[in-house]
């Protein structure tokens, strides 16, 4: 398997050297084991700092919005779909962006890695699809496939859908259909059970908005939670306001979400917010056969209509 990091460094360095792009959005090595820091490379020297591994959990398309210069972006499958969405929603132009597409075999779930370690992780190494963590008590290893984030385990589009510099062979897709088991469990609950479930799910939310801020879709100049004339959502920890925030945000992402998992990766309280967005994406898929960000030729499902749209509600 080729070394992604080496290739990314070379490609980015070349793009910056020959002036094709002004900046490259990627990751550099983090200051802690098991995390990488999103990084804007501006020079060929900067490009030498770029890295890629299975701990690149944030969606780099989040850093693309509103950029005015020529920008290259290292994009895994889901990220690339958000680049497409950005182009469709006119956050950037197609000409501006050079996608360095990365066929992705998934990112590790930070909590599964923590569980594997069973203590403070002092070092994390990844080699040939195996993750090894070192704690004060010793070392433990596991196959990456056992540690995947759930969105990665269920991923339908591991290969970038838009790719200007395909440096690596595509990886085999591991799923052909959506896995909505978690959503279906909730759908099977009666209203009282569902209410209790969501109450519990959101009970530890601190309204830090890490989920919203990590999401490439959330780029509104003034988010609805920040409106003050009139004020739509309270700012305290009243469960009504917490629920309003999460459900409304999920609806705003409906038909646009690529299930990249950045929201859950960012959440400091480990809240499974994808249970909300997942339901809406399942809905879009079932009703309109829609998956977000696959091509720049089509507008998002909730942005347009056709005469073939199902309309059972008015029959």
């Amino acid at each position: 398997m080729i070394d992604y990091t080496e290739n990314i460094r070379k490609i980015s360095g070349d793009l910056l050297k020959n002036g094709k792009v002004d900046v490259v959005i990627g990751y550099k090595r983090g200051t802690l084991p098991g995390i990488n820091e999103p990084f804007l490379a501006k020079t060929p020297e900067d490009a030498e700092k770029l890295v890629w591994d299975s701990q690149c959990r944030l969606n780099l398309a989040n850093y693309l919005t509103g950029r005015k210069e020529n920008v290259a972006i290292i994009a895994k499958g889901c990220d690339s779909r958000n680049v497409v969405t950005h182009i469709v929603e006119r956050r950037v132009t197609r000409d501006q962006v050079t996608v360095i597409g990365v066929p992705c075999t998934g990112m590790t779930d930070k909590n599964k890695v923590k569980q594997l370690a069973g203590g403070e992780i002092l070092e994390l190494t990844e080699k040939n699809g195996k993750i090894t963590v070192k704690t004060r008590k010793g070392e433990r290893s596991a196959d990456k496939s056992e540690l995947l984030q759930s969105n990665c385990a269920n991923c339908l589009h591991r290969n970038p859908v838009i790719n200007d510099i395909p440096f690596a062979d595509p990886v085999p897709e591991i799923n052909t259909a959506r896995n909505d088991d978690e959503i279906k469990k909730i759908e099977a609950m009666n209203p009282a059970e569902r209410w209790a479930f969501f109450d519990d799910l959101l009970s530890t939310c601190t309204r830090c908005y890490a989920c919203k801020n990590a999401c490439p879709l959330c780029y509104c100049p003034t988010c609805f939670v920040d409106e003050s004339q009139p004020q739509w959502v309270g700012k305290g920890d009243d469960p009504v306001d917490v629920r309003t925030y999460h459900t409304l945000r999920a609806f705003h992402c409906a038909g646009r979400c690529t299930d990249c998992g950045a929201c859950e990766a960012a959440c400091p309280m480990n809240i499974k917010v994808r249970l909300l967005t997942g339901k809406l994406e399942k809905s879009c898929y079932e009703r309109f056969g829609w998956e977000a960000g696959l091509t720049t030729d089509v507008r998002p499902a909730l942005d347009t209509f056709t005469t073939h749209d199902p309309e059972e509600f008015i029959k």
């Binding site: 983090g30 200051t31 802690l32 995390i35 990488n36 820091e37 999103p38 990084f39 804007l40 501006k42 959990r57 944030l58 989040n62 850093y63 909590n111 403070e120 002092l122 004060r136 009970s203 530890t204 601190t206 830090c208 908005y209 890490a210 919203k212 801020n213 990590a214 003034t222 920040d226 003050s228 309270g234 700012k235 305290g236 920890d237 009243d238 990766a265 960012a266 959440c267 400091p268 309280m269 480990n270």
Partner: protein, 346 residues
């Protein structure tokens, strides 16, 4: 200073005895993480959970706190007259707080008792608490508390310092203040430790401090001018990864920014103090629409300038950080205050 020895059985018995006259507060596991919560009758603090997810600052500075109540009913003779919400501040024993978290509360106090004004909600809550701290035997790799004027065995801000006495569940208890003495008495802890206790504690303290691998230096930051640090050209790239979510500010034991909001329920209303974050877009937004910190990197810069420079200059108590490492561990984008301190301290 008196040092007591508390064996496991006495610990359980004594803590519950002190519950007769103190509201006990200690680490409680809530879903994935520990937080400091008021303990129910008969409930013991989980002493393995002292390293809480969010800092214990909510004990004196709650996430959301009603300060003022009022009626907006035009038929009420007291309509629109705002009154302090009556609250009880029963005597409390907070058990198992880490030394640097207790030190952090002292730094918070500098803000809430600032020489001209006093925040009664903070101060009454703070004064009602007896802090029974638990020393850190094994500092995390992200613990840089010794660089920040505190440390794994620091006594500042504590009334009692508990140190693992070796045997499972046994403690040495260093009685630091009369408040600590009163709690120990209420718990019935009277057995004085052997004459070697002080030396043993010193030894454990040194061993813990030796394990600290993370350090920060801010001597040069102190010498530079504010404008020099503020106008340095690294900020946009330093802050690139930051998504301005505010997780750091909520987890941080020394962050104190808050918002004041009114909420109405029919003809009754309240004025609430909520945690707020300088990282958010609205924080400095003027009514006119002008925002002096319009760009996210300006807000990221503000946080670090405040913590590492403005506070240092203003209070002469070192930096506004106790080195607990929560922000470093919890930041989704790996913004690391230690790295930023290094950059500013060049």
């Amino acid at each position: 200073m008196k040092i007591l020895h508390i064996d496991r059985a006495s610990w359980d018995k004594g803590v519950l005895a002190s519950a007769e006259t103190y509201q006990l507060t200690g680490p409680v596991k809530e879903k994935d993480f520990y937080e400091f919560k008021d303990l129910k009758k008969g409930e013991m603090p989980d002493m393995s959970g002292s390293d809480t997810r969010l800092s214990p600052k909510a004990l004196v500075f709650p996430k959301s706190e009603v300060m003022i109540t009022f009626s907006t009913d035009p038929n009420d003779p007291e309509c629109n007259i705002m009154k302090e919400t009556k609250k009880e501040y029963p005597k409390r024993a907070v058990i198992g707080i880490r030394p640097y978290d207790a030190r952090a509360l002292q730094l918070l106090k500098l803000n809430f008792d600032n020489g001209d004004y006093q925040d009664p909600y903070f101060l009454k809550a703070y004064d009602a608490i007896t802090f029974v701290g638990l020393a850190v035997n094994q500092p995390s790799a992200t613990d840089f508390s010794t660089s920040c004027g505190t440390g794994p065995f620091d006594e500042k801000g504590l009334d009692v310092l508990l140190v693992d006495a070796g045997e499972e569940g046994d403690y040495f208890a260093k009685i630091i203040t009369p408040k600590g003495e009163a709690w120990a008495k209420a718990a019935g802890f009277t057995k004085e430790a052997g004459s070697d206790a002080a030396t043993r504690i010193e030894g454990m303290k040194k061993a813990a401090e030796d394990q600290i691998v993370s350090t920060v230096a801010f001597d040069k930051i102190a010498k530079k001018t504010i404008l020099e640090l503020f106008e340095a050209d690294h900020w946009e790239s330093t802050a690139f990864a930051c998504i301005n979510c505010g997780t750091c500010t909520y987890a941080c034991p020394t962050c104190w920014c808050f918002d004041i909001q009114d909420e109405n329920f029919g003809t009754k209303g309240v004025r609430i103090k909520n945690w707020d974050s300088c990282m958010t877009g609205l924080f400095t937004m003027h009514g006119s629409g002008h925002n002096p910190r319009q760009y996210p990197y300006q807000r990221t810069r503000q946080r670090f300038m405040h913590k590492l420079k403005y506070f240092t200059d203003k209070y002469d108590q070192g930096i506004m950080c106790v080195g607990c490492g929560r922000c470093v561990r919890q930041c989704p984008a790996n913004i690391d205050i230690r790295e930023i301190c290094k950059t500013m301290n060049k």
